[in-house]
């Protein structure tokens, strides 16, 4: 599964992304399960709001963290996210 660069990405309505105060972590919640996220994964997923494409997500994060060259890491993570059903495109 790969990310279509032309299409926007949105977080799956079948999952919930939320900050867990007790764990001091963002987590993905779904039936019978929970995935704990590190900070960078959470930052990427928060931008999957159905308005941005892959390129825009990369640009926004590079700007936010004043860095460059994030495209490979972000693409790799989003492919995992797509495979797991955490995000959707169309």
């Amino acid at each position: 599964m790969s990310i279509n660069p032309e299409q926007t990405i949105k977080f799956s309505p079948m999952h919930r992304l939320q900050w867990e105060e007790a764990q001091q972590k963002n987590v993905i919640l779904y039936p019978e399960g929970m995935v704990e996220l590190n900070q960078s994964s959470a930052e990427i997923l928060k931008l999957c709001d159905g308005t941005r494409t892959l390129g825009q997500i990369v640009r926004d994060l590079e700007q936010k963290f004043a860095t460059a060259g994030l495209v490979d890491d972000i693409t790799a993570f989003l492919e995992v996210a797509l495979k797991n059903g955490w995000i959707q495109q169309n």
Partner: protein, 375 residues
């Protein structure tokens, strides 16, 4: 932890709220205790709200509203709303009996996240026989409505000797109903299932055949449907890591407010399980005798205490050790290292003999009359 008395207590993550023992169904493998009819009292709405608030504060995030049939509680929408406000990810674990489209919409509006609906078999005749209630068509209608209103849906089918031959049809049914998750729960032999074990336990050949069919289907539906396969531990060499370790992750609150480290723990002697009417969840989780009883490894006997796999499976299930060997400190007899392991083969042989007998005794259905007779 061996050699140290200080046990690191992790906070609860999963809360199972058994709102009631009342249920219109009579499944003969129900996980409720055999003597449930003795425990008639139920927590009120404020008690449940306090429990939800306190457990959430400690870090519980996955919440199951269960029973009995949780829909029999009139205050369910109020509790679901309270749970959503607190940030729980909440699940309604239901037979589907009594669930209407209006209720499905209402629960969605107050923040219910997903629904797990049980179906007993893939045919009306067997489903209605096992449930002790005419419910098959209604359950299927309910499943379609759950999907229509955008919930993630878990379809749960408990597998045993009466329905294991329907595995291909059960899988087809799950696909037709649009289940996002299919839980194929091989019966665990506690409570009512323990009482009916001779009639429910399939043969090893039946298990293996069914598992193969399920495995092939899993690959076919990958990406569309996830399958949770609850292993039939009687045919394993090693016990399950029950509850992910005692008092580490799971908290069950029974209808009358008794707090349990697992939903079967009521059957164990001498735990003095505390009630949420008397103590806070924090006191119960951290300080109570019951929740500390099997924490860590100090309580273990041989062969568990020197076993190099003890940190993986925690000696297996305490309730199963007690039910099958009479000793709740013993290794789970499922383990091939257990000196009591022979009881598993005896159970398998006994079930096989029962299946071949001309006059097989009938299933004991889960209802208040039988509960009083048996306890």
């Amino acid at each position: 932890m061996a050699g140290s008395n200080k046990i690191n207590i992790t906070p609860p993550r999963w809360l199972l709220a058994e709102l009631t023992y009342a249920c219109p169904l009579q499944c003969p493998y129900c996980a409720n205790p055999i003597d449930y009819a003795k425990h008639q009292s139920e927590l009120d709405t404020d008690d449940w709200k306090r429990v939800l608030t306190q457990a959430r504060k400690m870090g519980a995030v996955q919440l199951g509203f269960s029973g009995g049939e949780p829909l029999t509680r009139k205050d369910l929408p109020e509790l679901v709303k309270h749970a959503r406000d607190l940030g729980y990810y909440s699940n309604l674990i239901t037979s589907g009996y009594g669930l209407t489209e209006e209720k499905i919409v209402q629960l969605k509006d107050v923040g219910l996240d997903h629904i797990q609906v049980s179906i007993q078999a893939s045919s009306q005749e067997l489903n209605d026989h096992l449930a002790g209630t005419e419910s098959f068509q209604h359950k299927k209608d309910v499943a379609h409505l759950i999907k229509k209103h955008g919930y993630p849906m878990v379809l749960c089918v408990v597998i045993h000797r009466e329905n294991i031959h329907q595995m291909p049809q059960i899988l087809e049914m799950a696909e037709e109903l649009g289940a996002d998750y299919l839980e194929l729960a091989n019966t665990q032999y506690y409570g009512w299932a323990h009482a009916n074990r001779d009639l429910l336990l399939p043969t090893k050949e039946q298990f293996e055949q069914a598992e193969q069919i399920a495995q092939a289907f899993k690959e076919k539906v990958a990406g569309k449907m996830k399958i949770y396969y609850v292993v039939p531990d009687f045919y394993e060499d090693r016990p399950k890591a029950c509850m992910n370790g005692w008092g580490t992750t799971f908290l069950t609150i029974a209808p009358d407010g008794v707090a349990l480290p697992c939903h079967s723990a009521r059957e164990l002697p001498g735990l003095d399980c505390p009630n949420v009417k008397d103590y806070s969840i924090e006191q119960i989780w951290n300080e109570s005798k019951a929740f500390n009883f099997f924490r860590g490894f100090e309580w273990m006997k041989e062969p568990c205490s020197s076993c190099d796999e003890k940190e993986k499976d925690f000696g297996g299930c305490r309730c199963q050790a007690y039910l099958l060997s009479g000793d709740m400190y013993a290794a789970d007899p499922v383990c091939s290292k257990s000196p009591n392991h022979h009881v598993i083969q005896e159970a398998i042989d006994s079930a096989k003999a029962s299946a071949l007998a001309d006059n097989e005794k009938p299933l004991i259905f889960r209802n208040s009359k039988n509960s009083r007779l048996l306890s």
